[in-house]
Subunit: 216 residues, 2 copies
């Protein structure tokens, strides 16, 4: 790979790096970047089927399987987990909850689809996960997530990181902003009684490009 400065190959140990400059979450805005098309290039080929609920100490994590294509390239659904309150902030608004659907390719490239949930009606799939939750054990469930994924997802696309250690970069983010997922005050109360707030602080955008799809 080329750089514009003369590199000394005998001093490789002292080469500078830019690790940690592409972290997540970030502040998103409808005025950020260019509009690239009417909808995010996400196509669910096999809807995420949740199979096992586990207590991740800071959140409920639900393992499962499924396949989603991003820009026509398939990636395997691995797990979904929840942040309360939301991690990404969109146009100054922080949602009550952010749902992360984590996908991975064969060599470990991660793609996370983020959805937001606002206070409102009771969320049935979330209630099934709450009902199945057991602090001491992994619990089987059988729950398709079709309802949470919109036919025409709109939102943001950018390159970031895991939001918990090891904070690895090279994570592709699709942040969907047009999903009308809700959770009830009872569900939020249950959540806050079981877990402390688990939203990572907003990270600097630095030199990154954010793409918008259908966000006006």
């Amino acid at each position: 790979m080329g750089v514009s400065l003369m590199l000394n190959y005998r001093e490789q140990a002292s080469w500078p790096n830019a690790f940690g400059q592409q972290q997540s979450p970030i502040r998103l805005s409808s005025t950020l970047g260019a509009n690239e098309g009417p909808s995010l290039p996400i196509m669910v080929k096999r809807s995420p089927l949740l199979t096992t609920v586990t207590n991740d100490q800071t959140t409920i994590k639900v393992i499962g399987n499924g396949t989603t294509q991003f820009f026509n390239r398939p990636s395997a659904f691995q797990q979904v987990h929840f942040h309360v309150p939301a991690e990404h902030v969109v146009d100054g608004h922080q949602a009550a909850m952010e749902i992360h659907l984590v996908h991975e390719t064969g060599i470990g490239q991660k793609t996370v689809v983020a959805l937001f949930a606002e206070l409102g009606a009771n969320n049935q799939p979330l209630q099934r996960l709450i009902d199945a939750f057991d602090a001491a054990a992994a619990v089987p469930v059988n729950l398709p997530l079709t309802d949470w994924l919109p036919q025409t997802p709109r939102g943001f696309h950018y390159l970031g990181s895991l939001t918990t250690p090891p904070l690895s970069e090279g994570v592709e983010w699709f942040v969907i902003t047009n999903v009308a997922v809700t959770l009830s005050q009872d569900q939020l109360d249950w959540w806050q009684a079981h877990f402390p707030a688990n939203n990572r602080a907003l990270q600097p955008l630095n030199e990154r490009i954010v793409e918008r799809y259908g966000v006006k």
Copy 2:
């Protein structure tokens, strides 16, 4: 993103990371990983057309345009440059030269296709670049790289980094091993007279998965 240890969200500044654990180049081997298919999922949609030769101090860099699909997802060709001797080592062999074709998506995800050149017949496209090379200025060329990309590419696929600063991770590598590109002793002599060796040291594989395609 979930982890198995209890995270303290009030101590985020002290969270550990794994930056620098997925670096390139690496040592590759026909016995590494699983064979995923007969050929690497690379499809050239618009052959790289080289337009401008620049002196990058440590190598010739040639900027151009084109589009290649990786797993059916398009990425834009940006530039090609050269490492002498090769950076990746395959089954213990280090080629005379390694050619890096760098591609990038709209949000900055980099994909590098690596090809090797061995000592042999004169390489015509390379000779045109050498002839166009001028240490003082960027020089226009008009050169399609079709000859260098095989119809059925075979080799390795893994997640790594840039091999020069900023050493950014999340770079997708396709290392093609079945290309019969050669360069002559005269061309190699010219190269070594103009540039010192510019191969980065081999980096540890750590926990990464390497996929093979058509490598036996």
